[in-house]
């Protein structure tokens, strides 16, 4: 159980720091093609920024910023993005998750199409991992406190 904890220094530092942490998380997701990073790592960084918000303020604060219902929707949307890209490839005539067939709807050559498909996958994975981290943390931290929607 996290009790409300008021500290001006911690709250101010976290409030200034959290946007930069989230920006870095987005950078890690988007730049996973050419540097260490990708969906899993960036998603964990994004989730950690919300957990930091929850630790420095209290549980009600994070529910104001990101409701539980929106979190569950994010959880599902990531998997749907991932599976949806596979199904788009299937509808365009290729195998499941064969991104080179995306060239029929994108103005690029097959090699570039595979690169873009990988980026879509990373976004889906990142959204899911972020929502999973927040969801597990909130469920474990708020005992008997929250009412499900």
């Amino acid at each position: 159980m996290i009790s409300p904890f008021e500290d001006v220094i911690i709250q101010t530092v976290c409030r200034i720091l959290i946007p930069f942490i989230q920006l870095y998380g987005l950078y890690v997701i988007a730049h996973g093609h050419s540097s260490p990073g990708g969906g899993f790592q960036g998603g964990v960084i994004l989730g950690a920024s919300f957990i930091l918000l929850c630790l420095s303020y209290d549980l009600q604060e994070i529910k104001k910023r990101l409701s539980q219902r929106a979190n569950v929707i994010f959880l599902s949307v990531g998997v749907i993005i991932y599976a949806g890209i596979g199904i788009v490839c299937l509808l365009l005539g290729g195998n499941y998750l064969d991104y080179s067939w995306l060239r029929q709807i994108l103005p690029v050559d097959p090699v570039e199409a595979r690169s873009i498909g990988i980026f879509g996958i990373e976004v889906g994975v990142g959204v899911t991992v972020m929502a999973v981290m927040i969801s597990i943390f909130l469920d474990l931290a708020s005992e008997e406190e929250q009412k499900g929607s």
């Binding site: 996973g32 050419s34 990073g37 595979r114 899911t128 969801s135 469920d139």
Partner: protein, 90 residues
């Protein structure tokens, strides 16, 4: 009981240590793990997917189906946490 556990742990450790005598040395470029599947990935990644990071390309392209299943695993874990802990008011 603790003694039995300690004996079992030491026995397992000794067996594994005996097994390391057949393993390749650390950082051996000719180890079996580096000879068969991975050279194909390393050499063809750039021309087939145009992604410099081989880990990303193998994760999301060559083994995309694996990663899909694994995303489903963590999705299921979050759903299981929600169902176990969260109280649903009717």
């Amino acid at each position: 009981m603790k003694l039995v556990a300690l004996i079992a742990v030491c026995l397992t450790g000794a067996l594994l240590l005996y097994g390391t005598t057949d393993m390749p040395n650390w950082g051996d470029p000719n180890s079996p793990a580096s000879l068969h599947v991975s050279p194909r990935y390393i050499e063809k990644t750039m021309e087939e997917t145009a992604v410099p990071n081989m880990v990303t390309s193998v994760l999301a392209d060559y083994r995309g189906y694996d990663t899909l299943g694994e995303t489903t695993v963590i999705f299921t874990a979050a759903i299981a946490c929600i169902l176990l802990i969260r109280r649903f008011s009717p």
